[in-house]
Symmetry: C3
Subunit: 300 residues, 3 copies
């Protein structure tokens, strides 16, 4: 019976070996490449060439060109819904070829984000916490024979390194040397209460519907002690200029106001948001989003 026992031992060790790998073989891509050319496909091809066992997904590739704030926001919006061990590759990189660092952030929640450290990590580092950051050592972690191409780090460094990390071919430590627990940050108005007013940033537009999403979360909003049906004053500023000022009810559902009327609500991320029922708030009032768009809200 000896060989049989050995077979079981082997199977057991195999199980232990695979069970011990931190990674779950999932890679999720984000970029400002769009879907019209072959850039996203080249990144995925490189990943499949690293390991055909990987499972590849996307956040979006329609980040407006060079818009680091939106890249930061999309990460914060989606990372929490993916399982522990997922590797994200985010490539919005106006400084490609300059001295910005290429890093992998491990969050306190056990996920990995492969990206240039150019502000992309501003929000996710805060919300998920920094477990450790490592700088990608491009002497080891770069696609073979890709040194002559200077402009597609997304494919040759980020996709390649993310895929190898997700496949368990390198450990997090093998990414490169440890950096201080500090990311490059985009300055913006954090959500806070000042007297009776809440202040915050228009973090993003829910672009498909034109709804306006702030960075004011439920816990802070609860301090206004607002009930459904109560009226809020909402003021929106672009830099120092006031562009919108109106009263609207706080509602549980869009159907609580007439078609075309404004309402305030908590969106799917439990952040204070503004909408027109079955119409486009941001288009109608020319409101955009980003670190230079601020909002002030108080209870009437």
């Amino acid at each position: 019976m000896f060989p049989l026992r050995r077979l079981f031992s082997f199977l057991f060790l195999l199980l232990v070996y695979y069970g011990s790998r931190g990674q779950n073989k999932i890679v999720v891509f984000q970029s400002d490449f769009g879907l019209k050319d072959g850039a996203v496909s080249a990144m995925k091809g490189v990943a499949m060439d690293v390991s055909a066992d990987l499972k590849l997904f996307d956040i979006t590739h329609e980040i407006p060109a060079y818009d680091i704030w939106e890249a930061a926001y999309r990460l914060e919006q989606t990372v929490p819904y993916w399982p522990r061990g997922t590797v994200f590759v985010s490539v919005v990189d106006p400084g490609v070829g300059t001295s910005r660092k290429s890093v992998v952030l491990k969050t306190k929640t056990g996920q990995f984000i492969v990206t240039p450290d150019n502000g992309t990590l501003t929000l996710i580092a805060l919300s998920q916490g920094i477990a450790e950051i490592r700088q990608i050592d491009e002497t080891r972690n770069r696609r073979k024979n890709s040194q002559e191409s200077y402009t597609f780090h997304g494919r040759d460094v980020y996709a390649y390194t993310g895929a190898r990390l997700a496949a368990g071919l390198i450990t997090f430590e093998q990414v490169g040397s440890k950096l201080p627990d500090q990311v490059v940050e985009i300055p913006y108005q954090p959500a806070l209460k000042e007297g009776i007013k809440l202040k915050g940033t228009i973090a993003i537009l829910d672009i498909q519907y034109g709804n306006v999403w702030t960075n004011i979360g439920k816990e802070l909003f609860d301090q206004l002690k607002v009930s459904y049906g109560d009226i809020l004053r909402v003021e929106i500023y672009h830099n120092q200029k006031k562009l919108y000022s109106a009263d609207m009810p706080y509602c549980q559902t869009f159907g609580a106001v007439n078609m075309g009327q404004p309402l305030a609500y908590l969106n799917s991320l439990l952040q204070l948001s503004f909408a027109l029922n079955q119409d486009n708030f941001s288009k109608k009032y020319s409101i955009s989003s980003g670190s230079d768009w601020r909002v002030e809200v108080w209870k009437k």
Copy 2:
């Protein structure tokens, strides 16, 4: 030899166990979310968190906002091509948060459609048949700790339930209680023959090329006894107003008429359609689609 026999028994049971699951681990998503934000990614993250063995695909996420008719049409167009046991999650939900029911339809062809019952099932229930409909019991089938968010049922209820059903973590019966075999229907002109005329709806535009697709199928069309090259009279109405009226040949291929000329043909779903050879029919004549666009056709 006893333990070896036990090993074989174990492997056999494993095989039986997995073979017995009805589902094929495929989930196909559809929505009006677009691909620019993180909503689709959040749904897929939730599904991967349910089971990393699932295979995730899409019909489209470019359904025009709130366009239930088009959601219904896209399901009818694509569901038949996917294997038995596939789970579809369709989220076009203008009434999110109102009293529309959340359901899972099992078709007679053995596929599952997870959706708000708001008209989305109008066409697929007819073409594939209703085996059984169950209402999603949100007390059990809802992502943990998601009760405070009122606006993203697509992620917290539909994607979550679809994923658990596809993964075999719940049976169809565990979705919730059985409903009558009846779905909410959008009223429209069904395809029929009245004297020498065929009447129907402009079901959809083949948007990329501007071709006009009706709901008049091959079997009905065959009753006109038309051969390739025969001339048809085609009239198009928006509500009661006639917007287009012309003669065109019935053709097997687009190349059978000169560039820019109109033709009638059977599309890939074997439905009567109209096109301009290498030009855009719907743009040129301002034709759209949906339940208020009707067509009348007869042989000259």
Copy 3:
């Protein structure tokens, strides 16, 4: 111990069996269908119905309608990054239903391209080499009961055949009979040196950023003996008409010139390209791409 040895033999044979399959179960789709309707989903459903073990990806489905040149270019841009054995299904097919041949090209690098032979293979046949071309025998390699539909070969022939080839259900030989090693070619200006000038085609726009990519590769460009910072004269012609003429430096990174200024660089495919730093070259100067857009470049 006999049965144990038999178990090992069985496992070994299993290994040999699966190891011997040439295909890697990866299928990569490309088309001009767009992502708004159900056409891409129907192709993928057919593939999953062939074998649920396949892994399905995309190059792009946003090829401009009927633009065979761009289909050819996207293949050349992406195919090399995918692993050996990958099957590509490219469906840009203005001649659907006419006499163009349906083929599978096996490249010298061991990949397969399933496509109408209408010029789509112009560039990839040259860059990757033709190992063998076979014509799809539609009497055997066509989705069952699809003969009555004349307009969706992408789904019924190309996706179906590509999936069966990738899944190992048919061999390359079973695709159909062997053709001469010759593909249908689109005429264009090949990259070459004439005196002090390089001549070539504007192969494609990097559409997201408006950069202009030529077909002049690094090896040819090196013959000009240009260093970073050297000035190039760049002239762009549409057919015989000169539309752009200017001097610009050859740079390693976009940041080497001021915002809005032009530069020449080698793109991620190591082809000579032109851009404005953080602006849109092609829009600003109304430059497009394709076989009728030529470029001449020399060192000042």
